[in-house]
């Protein structure tokens, strides 16, 4: 395919003298399972913020299916099909799990501006929300408030909201961050169960997760793309390993990389 699902060209972002993003050229294909890794402070979250429109770039372009969306605001990009989860949960803590997801679904289906019919009567919204909760095994928590849930399940709600937006591009910012290892399999299973046609970009430090999940890995260092390639290529790249030896949670990718569940790229 010629036109990638999501792409950036020469994307730059400066904060004063700090170059947080430097001429990033990036491609995400439909159905991709792409991981973005790099040491702390490499600019990964800044990059996601640029992709989602939270911050504008200093220069460069962002294109969705060939269309220039550099000037499009965050809320509009969501409508165009880009959804994300946050590194630290952004949920409606005093509302129930079902409410959290229902608000997102209602926005997507265009129910939200309606002022007269009660929200609970929109069966389509409620049923779709419950369906989402089922796929993420959150059904039992549907009526509980976020504040009452263990952190791992809150992370799942974060994912449920993103899925409720029926995105074509899904950006997951450290989806398992802060989740106790006893619960992290829930997240991992959920990620594996993501719809095939969505292009998924995961940022993470957990190399097990990254190498298990990704078909393509991009390494970012100091705001620029350092290396990009298949997991095998990245795993074998001595420069990448050198970059990680200085710090970060692991000293390098597992060896040899586990490719057993990487399907063929469409």
């Amino acid at each position: 395919m010629n036109t990638p699902l999501l792409e950036t060209r020469g994307l730059c972002r400066n904060f004063g003298a700090l170059a947080a993003a430097r001429h990033i050229d990036f491609r995400l294909e439909a159905g991709a399972r792409h991981a973005l890794i790099g040491p702390n402070g490499a600019g990964k979250t800044t990059f996601v913020n640029l992709l989602t429109g939270v911050i504008p770039p200093t220069s460069g372009e962002v294109r969705l299916k060939g269309r220039d969306i550099t000037g499009v605001v965050q809320a509009e990009r969501v409508k165009l099909g880009i959804a994300r989860t946050f590194q630290i949960n952004r949920l409606f803590r005093r509302l129930s799990v079902l409410d959290n997801v229902a608000i997102a679904v209602a926005e997507r289906v265009g129910a939200a501006p309606s002022m007269f019919r009660p929200a609970g009567r929109r069966r389509d919204v409620v049923e779709e929300s419950m369906h989402l909760l089922e796929t993420l095994k959150l059904t039992n928590d549907a009526g509980h408030r976020i504040a009452e849930l263990p952190y791992g399940r809150q992370r799942l709600v974060e994912l449920a909201i993103a899925l409720g937006l029926k995105p074509e591009v899904l950006l997951l910012d450290e989806p398992a961050a802060g989740v106790p290892s006893a619960e992290s399999h829930i997240i991992l299973d959920a990620i594996e169960g993501l719809p095939r046609h969505i292009g998924v970009l995961i940022i993470d430090h957990d190399m097990d997760l990254v190498f298990r999940f990704a078909q393509q890995i991009t390494v970012m260092v100091n705001g620029a793309v350092f290396a990009s390639g298949s997991p095998r290529e990245i795993g074998a790249n001595p420069d990448v390993r050198a970059v990680y030896l200085g710090g970060g949670p692991r000293t390098g990718p597992p060896h040899p990389p586990d490719v057993r569940r990487v399907p063929a790229e469409p």
Binding site: R90, L91, G120, V126
Partner: protein
């Protein structure tokens, strides 16, 4: 997407959501009491009318403050806009019919709300708070300056208000017509606000209040929603102000003052904001206390009010209804 199974909607959480908007058994009580008041205290209908108008004003504030989470100290701008619309139209002999006058008051107040909302709601926090104060102060100054039309500092009195439906007189000394008129207006506005609050629009306002960043991230047009909410809230405040002018046959700068704006905020917080009925409880509590205490010991009243606010801010931020909720949770656990 696979067809959802019928069992899904039967989940208790889904059922709770579907039933959230249903009338609860105790909801008719305030209205029953209000009607009973009419028959039980025929000599206190002036107080009753003032109370009902205050409830209406507080409900309008609850919409933007309690549900959308916008803190404003300038809500009297819309109350006064409505009041002066009615007042000026009546005093200068342009229009005296009450119901259409009220609709005009709502429209003018909504226009002020829309104009100021579009402009103010680009800011947040202290800047927004300050701009709401500034807008209200600006309107107050304008009313003061335009004394040829507005009566300036003294205001406009003895407003000629035509009889309701051509039959029922507005007599300031015997406010029987006023009371029922206000009660009807309050009922209609409340029914509208209640519907709004349980609608998807209302849910999105709650989302904006709880986590605005998240609402941006689900594609909600946050500012548009806030401006719409602000406009509706302004319109209802305008109805309250217009009705106040009609009921009292009088309008003055006090309708636009910081005193009125601060008082309605206190009333709403006292009763419990974001809870619709907090307006009722807060208004009753405040006005009953104020009626007995504020004129006799004005300084002590202010001192007590100040202490009350400090206590509420520190210990009881959800007001009387919040205390009631906490109590019922504790009792429910026993």
């Amino acid at each position: 997407m696979t067809a959802p199974s019928p069992g899904r909607a039967a989940h208790p959480a889904a059922l709770a959501l579907a039933r959230r908007h249903r009338l609860r058994a105790w909801e008719p009580i305030p209205w029953v009491l209000a009607v009973a008041f009419y028959f039980a205290f025929p000599r206190h209908l002036g107080f009753g009318t003032e109370l009902l108008i205050t409830v209406l004003f507080a409900i309008s504030l609850d919409l933007i403050l309690g549900y959308a989470g916008i803190v404003t100290l300038g809500h009297a701008a819309f109350f006064g806009a409505g009041a002066y619309t009615v007042g000026m139209l009546a005093k200068h002999g342009i229009w005296t019919e009450p119901i259409t006058g009220l609709i005009l008051a709502a429209l003018i107040a909504a226009a002020v709300g829309l104009g100021s909302g579009l402009v103010l709601l680009r800011t947040r926090g202290l800047t927004l708070l300050m701009l709401t104060l500034c807008t209200m102060a600006l309107l107050e100054e304008a009313a003061n300056l335009g004394h040829a039309y507005t009566g300036g500092f003294d205001g406009l009195d003895s407003l000629p208000i035509a009889p309701l439906f051509g039959v029922f007189d507005f007599n300031p000394l015997y406010p029987r017509t006023q009371y029922l008129y206000v009660l009807a207006a309050l009922f209609l506005c409340f029914a509208f606000v209640r519907t709004l609050v349980y609608s998807p629009f209302g849910q999105s306002l709650t989302g904006i209040r709880e986590n605005m960043l998240r609402m941006h991230a689900v594609g909600a047009p946050v500012r548009t929603r806030l401006v719409v909410c602000y406009t509706i809230s302004a319109a209802i405040a305008g109805v309250a102000g217009g009705i106040w002018a009609q009921a009292n046959a009088y309008v003055n700068l006090g309708t636009l003052g910081l005193d009125r704006a601060a008082t309605v905020l206190i009333i709403l917080v006292l009763g419990g904001h974001g809870r619709l009925y907090g307006a009722f409880i807060g208004a009753v509590a405040y006005m009953v206390l104020s009626h007995f205490l504020s004129k006799i010991y004005p300084t002590a009243w202010q001192l007590g009010l100040g202490l009350l606010l400090v206590v509420i801010a520190l210990f009881a931020r959800n007001g009387i209804l919040g205390i009631g909720e906490a109590a019922s949770r504790v009792l429910g656990r026993r």
